[in-house]
């Protein structure tokens, strides 16, 4: 199986640190007038999105272009998927055009894992169903580290529809590798008790106030109505019990930051005041998305090229250069 990035769960702490470290070096680039590198010049990256996405797809596209790669973005509605082609056949067809990596988002949990077993091209998971969204967790970690000295010892509250959230799963796996105190919060239907067993340091609560108490980081999740089969609460009730209001902030640490993977629904998950609050880092998250995805693409395509070189018999002199 070629090296891609399928999930956070299977990464070691060292690998996460290496990606974050590399992403840090790309942060200043975002503020320069000339933003382009030629690390991946001549390489081709395909963005294959079977689910609607604006920020993730754009972010991956910008990241690839800043590394000098060529990109093609395909959305499911405009592809042969609508003509009944199977997922494997679609990917095989794309693979035959020899891209260096495929970035994919799919509504089915595990779709990129299944494909990685059948394809020789590295796959970067840009979100699979309710499973993982690894680059989101990486950019969230980078954003936290922009505001806190270290991940260790922090208390992070993740609030909302945890059951259907790939963002929550990837964040739990990442933060657990650093010994973070993780509190997951939501109504029981959206917070299955088994969540406390998927990683270490995870506690669950149905009470938003309890979750926020003493938190260094508050991550709000989008209400994923499209994935909820029997929504347990009406929208108004949801906001009443699980929406973040400015007065909640008094329970958190004074320097607590508020995060949200976007797109935000003002008045559904958080009030407008919280979204625009000075400790809200939602736009920093978006900005860091590009740096993190540059680090990931460089690692994935670089590793793939390295593996191919090794296979062809050339002498390997160094590591992956990350």
């Amino acid at each position: 199986m070629p090296t891609g990035l399928l999930g956070i769960e299977e990464l070691s702490r060292g690998e996460v640190e290496a990606i974050l470290h590399r992403a840090r070096t790309f942060q200043p680039l975002q503020h320069q007038s000339y933003k382009k590198l030629d690390t991946l010049r001549g390489r081709m990256i395909v963005n294959l999105f079977f689910e609607a996405s604006t920020r993730t797809r754009t972010s991956f596209e910008i990241a690839a272009k800043r590394l000098g790669a060529d990109t093609v973005s395909i959305t499911a509605s405009g592809s042969s998927v609508s003509k009944g082609e199977s997922l494997v056949d679609t990917l095989n067809t794309l693979a035959a055009m020899r891209p260096d990596a495929i970035v994919m988002r799919h509504a089915a949990s595990g779709a990129p894992y299944f494909l990685a077993h059948h394809l020789a091209i590295p796959i970067v998971n840009a979100g699979d169903g309710t499973h993982e969204h690894p680059t989101q967790a990486l950019l969230d970690a980078l954003t936290i580290l922009d505001h806190k000295p270290a991940l260790e010892g922090l208390r992070v509250a993740i609030i909302g529809d945890i059951a259907h959230s790939r963002v929550a799963r990837s964040n739990v796996h990442l933060l657990a590798k650093f010994g973070v105190d993780i509190v997951l919060c939501g109504p029981a239907t959206l917070l299955p008790p088994e969540l406390s067993a998927i990683a270490t340091g995870v506690t669950l609560t149905n009470d938003i106030r309890e979750a926020i108490e003493g938190a260094d980081v508050i991550m709000m999740l989008r209400v994923q109505l499209e994935r909820q089969h029997d929504p347990p609460l009406q929208a108004g009730e949801y906001f009443h019990f699980y929406g973040l209001r400015l007065d909640h902030m008094a329970l958190a640490k004074p320097d607590a930051i508020v995060m949200h993977p976007g797109p935000i629904n003002r008045g559904r998950e958080l009030t407008s005041e919280v979204a625009d609050f000075q400790q809200s880092v939602i736009l920093n998250q978006v900005e860091n998305g590009v740096a993190v995805r540059m680090a990931v693409l460089e690692r994935v395509v670089g590793a793939h090229v390295e593996a191919a070189r090794q296979k062809s018999g050339a002498v390997r002199e160094s590591g992956l250069g990350i």
């Binding site: 494997v88 595990g110 059948h118 088994e194």
Partner: protein
């Protein structure tokens, strides 16, 4: 018709509690004698020394996909796989196209089996028309045409009133009702057992309670109607406990377990590999242990495979799109020897019972023993044989098995149906 003398094997016949070295003589397709040093009298000789000689194994739960879904399996290929798994008789579920809900389809299956099947095939009729769960099927005429039980396997009867009527009719015709116990509202949309692994993989869970509430309902209905109720592929620890208690109260309740439900759990699922996707789903390790305990205690009466062939094209998809079910005829005996006998949980006598008198009693079949006059069906095992399962060499038309590449200690080596050797392991 020629006669066959199976000589010098360790004969295990649970019906007569026989366990010892003996010869078995089959004449004209029927068993004529079991005893020491039987005279050959011109019979074909089969040396079984060092091997286990048992009555022919019965798999009471398979899907043969004929008529209508022949790209997955046919009566001929399914029966061939059964023979290669040591089975001399199989019972096929009615979820074909059309559904086996009337005597015409039953007769078609019986006739195709007579022409093409290496082993005995006993059809199971649908409980309701088209297995739609609404109107009862033609139960009496299907019985006359040869069905041995009723089931809407895969499409459980959700309406308790319909199930009550079905049990009443089943009782009238002396048929057991086999229920695939699944509350479709609770399991709706689920892809694997609801637990820590489904949560981790982001796959929608099927809660154990979806099995439990239906087992509870059907036990109550069996008590009311007096019908014989059999739980198909029992998998949850609470359901097994309910069956155990129903039996203690003397209710006509029986159950079967599949080899996969006692061999692997949801923790063993290769991520998003649809060869691990079936209903009921692989349970927790606690459920797996409960299935084995149930087999030991007698809460579970039979081992059945739920052999469910699906072609590769249907299994090569996103996990949530793949159909449920795995093939199992050729691995059942190997898994049972490995997980139940070699592990020290049950005796060989008990193991043979689970494949012979167990299912025969549930279905009222005049088979599963070596009594004089019964059909000359035998399964010959080697408990120490080491072999590897290669799904690509399976006789089944489909290759959807999670046990590909497994190394086994012990397995069937020869299958005899009506005095004729229909399969023998090539070394």
């Amino acid at each position: 018709m020629a006669s066959l003398l199976v000589k010098g094997g360790r004969v295990i016949d649970p019906a007569s509690s026989l366990d010892g070295t003996a010869d078995v003589l089959i004449d004209n397709g029927r068993i004529t004698a079991v005893g020491r040093d039987l005279p050959r009298n011109g019979a074909e000789l089969l040396d079984a020394s060092g091997l286990i000689v048992a009555p022919g194994f019965i798999d009471m739960h398979v899907h043969l996909r004929e008529p209508g879904i022949e790209h997955s399996e046919t009566i001929e290929t399914g029966a061939r796989a059964a023979a290669a798994g040591g089975f001399t008789s199989i019972c096929c579920m009615p979820n074909t196209l059309p559904v086996n809900d009337n005597a015409t389809v039953t007769s078609y299956i019986v006739e195709r089996a007579r022409q093409y099947a290496l082993v005995n095939v006993f059809p199971i009729g649908a409980i309701t028309k088209d297995s739609a769960g609404e109107e009862l099927a033609a139960i009496g005429s299907m019985k006359s045409a040869g069905i041995v039980a009723l089931s809407d396997d895969g499409r459980p009867v959700m309406n308790a009133r319909v199930m009550r009527r079905a049990m009443e009719m089943a009782k009238s015709f002396g048929l057991p009702v086999i229920d695939h116990c699944e509350d479709l509202n609770l399991s709706s949309g689920g892809d694997m057992h609801e637990g820590v692994h489904s949560t981790r993989l982001g796959l929608r869970g099927i809660p154990s309670s979806s099995e439990d509430v239906m087992v509870a309902r059907d036990i109550l209905l069996a008590q009311t109607t007096g019908a014989r109720f059999h739980v198909a592929h029992i998998s949850s620890h609470r359901s097994i406990d309910m069956v155990r208690r129903a039996k203690e109260r003397g209710l006509p309740v029986t159950s079967e377990a599949t080899p996969h439900h006692f061999s692997i759990s949801d923790a063993d699922i290769a991520p998003y590999d649809s060869n691990y996707k079936m209903k009921p789903p692989l349970g927790s390790t606690c459920d797996t242990a409960a299935v084995i305990d149930g087999i030991v205690s007698g809460a579970i009466d039979a081992i059945a495979t739920d052999h469910a062939p699906h072609p590769g094209s249907e299994k090569m998809q996103e996990f949530e799109k793949c159909p449920f079910g795995i093939i199992g005829l050729e691995t059942a005996v190997g898994l049972s020897l490995e997980k139940l006998y070699h592990s020290g949980r049950i005796s060989l006598m008990r193991l043979v019972e689970l494949f012979t008198t167990g299912p025969a009693r549930i279905l009222g079949l005049e088979r599963g023993s070596l009594a004089q006059g019964l059909p000359g069906d035998m399964t010959i095992l080697n408990t120490e044989l080491s072999w590897t399962y290669d799904v690509n060499h399976s006789f089944s038309k489909s290759k959807n098995s999670p046990f590909h590449g497994w190394k086994f200690r012990g397995g069937p080596v020869m299958t005899i149906v009506g005095g004729a050797v229909v399969w023998r392991r090539e070394r």
